[in-house]
């Protein structure tokens, strides 16, 4: 039991549809706010569902083009030894990109593991805040972790992580979050 600090890759953003309507936001305004607050590149996402909630998911063609090059940059910074991640790269290379998320769900690798929607957020101003959750693929976790107040530090670290590899726009989907 306990919480952990995780570094992961966001692949899905789930947003309360009622909140967006209440705030009177257009889709374009919503995407602008997501880019500003989460540092993502919204053009890497597509609307996957518009029923109970708005679900934006990473485009398969973006993942296919940018995921492995990003992981090859990020893993060596996260792990001192290649054996923590080399099999992940090998197995991703051998799997069609459209199956990567399914593979993450069944993954036995700590360095590429579907975490689900632990990571929650709120954007906009009170009283019309828009709430949502982020589903991430965990790339690493450490802990146990407990922190009473972390918003400023995490926001700054998130900003730096998202801007570390400007040549790869998928970098902007990297997340730090608390798990558990």
């Amino acid at each position: 039991m306990g919480a952990y600090l995780a570094v992961g890759l966001n692949f899905e953003i789930d947003i309360a549809k009622n909140d967006v309507a209440k705030a009177g936001w257009s889709e374009s305004k919503l995407l602008d706010e997501l880019e500003k607050e989460l540092f993502i590149d919204a053009s890497n996402y597509e609307l996957a569902s518009n029923e109970d909630s708005l679900v934006y998911r990473l485009r398969t063609d973006t993942l296919a083009k940018l995921l492995i090059p990003l992981l090859e940059k990020v893993y060596p910074l996260l792990y001192p030894r290649q054996n923590h991640w080399q099999r992940v790269i090998h197995e991703l290379s051998a799997t069609p990109p459209e199956n990567w998320l399914d593979w993450a769900e069944e993954s036995e690798h700590d360095s590429f593991y579907m975490d689900g929607d632990w990571d929650e957020f709120a954007i906009g101003a009170h009283p019309d805040k828009v709430y949502g959750s982020l589903s991430n693929i965990r790339l690493m976790m450490e802990g146990k972790f407990y922190m009473e107040e972390s918003s400023k530090s995490f926001h700054f670290l998130q900003y730096c992580i998202s801007n570390s590899f400007p040549e790869n726009s998928l970098c902007r989907s990297l997340r730090i979050y608390i798990l558990g």
Partner: protein
């Protein structure tokens, strides 16, 4: 009481010589481990061989040239919203009013929350054979603190964060001396 998550600049890095000798490591191998495993940019420091320790001190000319421009870029990212703790303008004004040679003495007096000498940051440890280890000890210029924090293990992630900071502020050699650490 308690510990805090801090972001700062490492102004001094030290290694106890007796501890190093007990490992049978050469000094060159130590430097290789510090640069590799801990991703420290020792080029930013002036090395001094003291009787009891190896001491790396941040080069004064680098600090004089880059501290203000780095903080001008970094503080707005740390404090993007109005915040009562944000006294960054006062820090920058205080630095501009002083000779660079006086900056560290000023930090020692802890003039501002966002600019204070911090001798309490956690150390790193390099493992050697037979359970021996070499402690890498830091003295930092704390630029941000938030907490309280309790974390059992954090080395790899914090190192990742530090390297992301160095990438983001890559226009400054001084950014390679930024550290994410626990203090208090």
């Amino acid at each position: 009481m308690g510990q805090y998550l801090a972001i700062g600049l490492s102004t001094k890095i030290s290694v106890n010589r007796a501890e190093l000798e007990a490992t049978k490591w050469s000094f060159e191998y130590l430097v290789e481990q510090m640069s590799g495993k801990l991703a420290l940019s020792l080029d930013n420091y002036h090395l001094e061989a003291r009787p009891d320790e190896w001491l790396w001190t941040l080069r004064p000319e680098l600090l004089a040239a880059e501290l203000i421009p780095l903080l001008e870029a970094l503080y707005p990212a740390l404090y993007p919203l109005p915040d009562p703790d944000n006294d960054s303008e006062a820090v920058l004004r205080g630095l501009r009013e002083r000779d660079p040679g006086e900056w560290m003495e000023w930090a020692n007096r802890k003039p501002h929350y966002l600019f204070q000498d911090d001798p309490y940051g956690t150390s790193d440890y390099l493992r050697a054979d037979f359970g021996r280890r070499v402690g890498i000890h830091y003295r930092d210029l704390a630029l941000s603190m938030e907490g309280k924090i309790l974390m059992e293990e954090y080395g790899r992630q914090f190192r990742f964060f530090q390297q992301c900071l160095a990438h983001r502020f890559g226009d400054f050699a001084l950014a390679r001396s930024l550290r994410v650490y626990i203090t208090g």
